[in-house]
């Protein structure tokens, strides 16, 4: 007898719908599976056999054939255990066939005892299935609520194979209740839930200001300072002063986190991500890759902050691999089966010690020679520094500062940032780019117009500081953002002077 259910296969950061067809016929007893399977899927055979047995059914000595299609999609993951088991039981007549009259998507890994284990990627799977007209889902109970925000569908969470059989034979399981995302989105932003607030940081006025400017114009940021000067504290809070993610962005972020299994039990992720890979990371872990490409840290940080602490300690090829994604906003990996595109729109925040020991120029603690200091900073790859517009020193916080209550809250800062972003959206509505950090050099005259005095100041700075042309443009872009923060139409001398203070020439 023949049966068919739907399931899902992971491909990069999206889920593809796969149909699972089962046929049980007389003949030499066998269990065959076809359809470009990886080893994990092939092992499903043993798990399914055992789970069926432990649910109380006997597999008769018949010829069982399972086909997963379309055949050109590489099937990966262990979501196929449950649909295969259901398909076999259906073909054997142990499950009422009438339920197949309407399409149903089943996904989940089975343990040998028949328990249904949790899975990743529920939300993108459901969205992809709904596009194909599939409206009913049987998925692991632990993840069932992750699909709750999708309208007009039924999701049934199950704990074990027995529950699935009973349900399909007419039993009752309560469908997951629909959650109104729009309503939730609005409510959420009344009660903030963030990784620390800027008001907890004392002193460090210049750093806080630089962070605000960086966020406002989407400039990548580099913090230079001694250990304990609060570089990671600041970096962590930057995600919280980025503009609120809109609903579309929330969905994008949630989908990626769903596939990576990093939703931590939430239905939707409504905070911008903050990812901080260690400096021993590989380029594959950072950018994504592998035979069957998986997204890297930069994609997990999509729409949020990618924080690289100890920038000078990262391997050079790892950092150089960041270059293209930072430029494009996405990672592109080509494989025999086609190209994989992972979104990678991040704000880069990097941090470094000023020298190997970390305490230069405090000569009571640092005994690095000037040459060693230069070499340490020189280790930072030039191409990545080229992409960073703002560099600022994080001073060590004096003891007396520690007890004091800090200044502005992240919310206050974020409001100014959102205003500056609005100015940019308006200004660049007819351009291909959205932020001041993206103004191409050919548009400098148009968008970074300088008056006579301002021009004079820039020329003087150009000569005094021996700026490169690239550095010159960076200063103008940053000055543009400062002007936007202050609601000024034209760049003024004070904006330029401040931008000069943030310039990235380290040596």
């Amino acid at each position: 007898m023949y049966s068919k259910v739907y399931s899902t296969a992971l491909r990069g950061v999206s889920m593809e719908i796969v149909s699972v067809e089962t046929d049980v016929s007389d003949g030499l007893p066998s269990f065959e599976m076809v359809g470009l399977l990886n080893s994990e899927v092939r092992e499903a055979k043993e798990r399914v056999r055992s789970a069926i047995k432990n649910t109380g059914y006997l597999l008769p000595p018949k010829r069982i054939t399972v086909s997963l299609s379309p055949a050109d999609i590489r099937k990966e993951g262990s979501y196929f255990d449950l649909p295969i088991a259901v398909g076999i039981l259906g073909s054997l007549g142990l499950i009422n066939l009438k339920y197949y009259e309407e399409d149903i998507l089943i996904a989940g890994e089975l343990s040998l005892s028949g328990e249904v284990l949790s899975m990743n990627g529920v939300l993108p799977m459901i969205l992809a299935a709904r596009e194909k007209g599939i409206r009913r889902f049987i998925i692991p109970k632990k993840n069932a609520h992750e699909g709750a925000i999708v309208d007009d569908i039924e999701i049934y969470g199950v704990n074990n194979l027995r529950e699935v059989v009973d349900f399909l034979n007419g039993g009752q399981i309560k469908a997951v209740e629909y959650v109104d995302f729009e309503k939730m989105y609005e409510e959420y932003f009344d009660g903030e839930d963030r990784d620390g607030d800027f008001s907890e940081i004392n002193g460090q006025e210049v750093v806080k200001r630089a962070a605000e400017v960086a966020v406002a114009g989407m400039h990548h940021l580099l913090l230079v300072g001694s250990p304990g000067s609060g570089k990671s504290m600041i970096a962590k809070r930057i995600a919280g002063i980025l503009p609120k993610p809109d609903m579309e962005e929330c969905m994008e972020i949630t989908k990626i986190h769903s596939i990576a299994g990093k939703l931590d039990g939430k239905a939707v992720k409504m905070t911008r991500p903050f990812r901080a890979p260690h400096h021993t990371t590989t380029d594959r872990a950072l950018i994504g890759g592998g035979n069957n490409p998986k997204p890297g840290e930069i994609t997990l940080a999509h729409k949020g902050v990618l924080f690289l602490d100890e920038l000078a300690e990262f391997k050079r090829d790892v950092i150089d691999a960041l270059r293209q994604p930072l430029e494009d906003g996405y990672v592109s990996i080509s494989r025999v089966g086609g190209a994989y595109v992972f979104p990678a729109n991040v704000m880069l925040v990097a941090a470094t010690n000023p020298c190997k020991c970390g305490y230069y120029p405090d000569r009571n603690r640092c005994n690095c020679s000037e040459i060693q200091v230069k070499n340490y900073i020189g280790k930072i790859s030039g191409p990545i520094l080229d992409r960073i517009d703002i560099c600022v020193n994080t001073p060590s916080v004096a003891m007396e500062e520690l007890g004091r209550k800090g200044g502005e809250s992240s919310k206050d800062i974020r409001e100014r940032v959102e205003h500056a972003r609005k100015c940019q959206i308006e200004r660049y509505k007819n351009e291909k780019y959205k932020f001041n950090s993206e103004i191409p050099s050919s548009h400098m005259e148009k968008y970074c117009y300088l008056g006579v005095e301002e021009k004079k100041l820039m020329d003087m700075a150009y000569n005094t500081f021996g700026l490169s042309v690239r550095a010159y443009y960076k200063i103008l872009r940053v000055a543009r953002t400062i002007a936007d923060l202050e609601d000024e139409e034209y760049i003024k001398e004070s904006h330029i002077a401040e931008a000069i203070g943030y310039r990235t020439e380290l040596i």
């Binding site: 000023p354 120029p361 000569r363 040459i371 001073p395 700075a461 001398e493 401040e498 203070g501």
Partner: protein, 364 residues
């Protein structure tokens, strides 16, 4: 220099491992290098001061083509002097452990020339660099040259200060004079050769080895009329120079520092044990027997910087030690963009430098 007259001396310097101490012993047994050169192997053995290796080295050195060695030195503009030679600095003759010979590029100090030695930490602070440069420049203004070791940090700053004042400066190296160590000081090296000399008791081509550096410090001390220490940690190498200076009866000056600063420990310790306190170049003149021209040369009087009031507020809270922007903002009570603006102006006018990211200091 005269090849015929000096060739045996030059030959002796080229005997392998003929370091100054050994050479001194040898010249107690032999009247001159020439006599050593002429000695047969049995005669060398008879003295009982040589090991087998020494004798082998001496005999081997006789195979050298000294004319060729001589030619190579002159090609590199390296000169040579030795005890008893007319060009040998008289000041050195006073001391028992004087170098027996010197290789040099440039001109050696004249016998009447006033010289101050200046030494200090290699990994010093910005303040140390600025003070060393300034004091050295002030000394230059009084016609006093500066002698040091051309190391990184204070040494280099001391030479630079003298050069800025158009005064003479001399470097005693711990390696051959044809080697610029550290390499990044190559421009300084050329300047020193042009306005004084680099000198060494080691044969050209000798690599910089750590034990040679304390040795060269003794020559710095011998040639100096006074010795100044600018920044030194406790038990640092710079204090070897002052040990020699004490031994040779030279006046010692030390730049005071804040108690607790590691780089000031050595100096404060020196002051405590009797060194004179150094705050400006003029302090050292008296000990060198210079009493006149003090007033008009004083640099302090002619470098008063006139600034607008706004800028003055920021400038006045800076000093030679780089300060973080946050501290400046706190001290002046101005906003960060105001302070950035003023600092940018001051940097462009050349009054302020930013040696470390967002740390600002007066230029001098």
């Amino acid at each position: 220099m005269d090849f015929e007259k000096d060739k045996y001396w030059l030959w002796m310097t080229h005997v392998k491992e003929m370091w100054t101490g050994k050479a001194r012993k040898v010249l107690n047994s032999f009247d001159s290098p020439e006599e050593l050169y002429m000695a047969k192997q049995q005669e060398l053995e008879k003295t009982g001061i040589f090991t087998d290796a020494d004798i082998y080295n001496i005999m081997a050195a006789k195979q050298m083509d000294m004319e060729n060695v001589w030619h190579n030195l002159s090609k590199k503009n390296i000169r040579f002097t030795h005890v008893g030679h007319s060009g040998y600095p008289e000041k050195l003759l006073l001391y028992g452990d004087k170098p027996l010979w010197l290789f040099y590029k440039g001109t050696l100090p004249g016998n009447e020339e006033k010289l101050a030695g200046m030494v200090g930490a290699r990994n010093c602070s910005r303040y140390g660099v600025a003070m060393a440069e300034k004091i050295s420049r002030q000394l230059g203004g009084y016609g006093v040259g500066v002698i040091s070791g051309m190391a990184r940090g204070i040494d280099a700053a001391a030479h630079r200060g003298a050069l800025q004042a158009g005064a003479k400066t001399y470097a005693v190296l711990g390696c051959g004079v044809d080697i610029c160590y550290p390499r990044e000081n190559i421009e300084l090296y050329m300047e020193i050769v042009a306005h004084g000399s680099v000198m060494s008791e080691y044969v050209p081509g000798t690599e910089p080895l750590s034990w040679q550096f304390p040795e060269r410090n003794r020559i710095i001390s011998m040639l100096s009329d006074v010795v100044a220490v600018v920044e030194a940690k406790k038990n640092s190498g710079s204090l070897i120079t002052t040990d020699y200076a004490l031994q040779y009866g030279k006046e010692i000056y030390a730049l005071p520092g804040r108690v607790g600063d590691e780089l000031s420990c050595g100096c404060n310790e020196l002051i405590k044990s009797g060194a004179s306190l150094l705050t400006e170049g003029a302090d050292m003149l008296y000990a060198m027997g210079i009493f006149d021209n003090l007033e008009e040369n004083n640099e302090k009087n002619n470098c008063k910087i006139i600034l607008e009031k706004e800028n003055e507020v920021v400038y006045s809270c800076l000093d030679l030690l780089p300060k973080n922007i946050d501290d400046i903002i706190k001290k002046t009570g101005k906003t960060s963009s105001e302070v950035f603006g003023i600092l940018t102006q001051l940097m462009m006018k050349g009054f302020v430098v930013e040696p470390v990211k967002n740390h600002y200091a007066r230029r001098k």
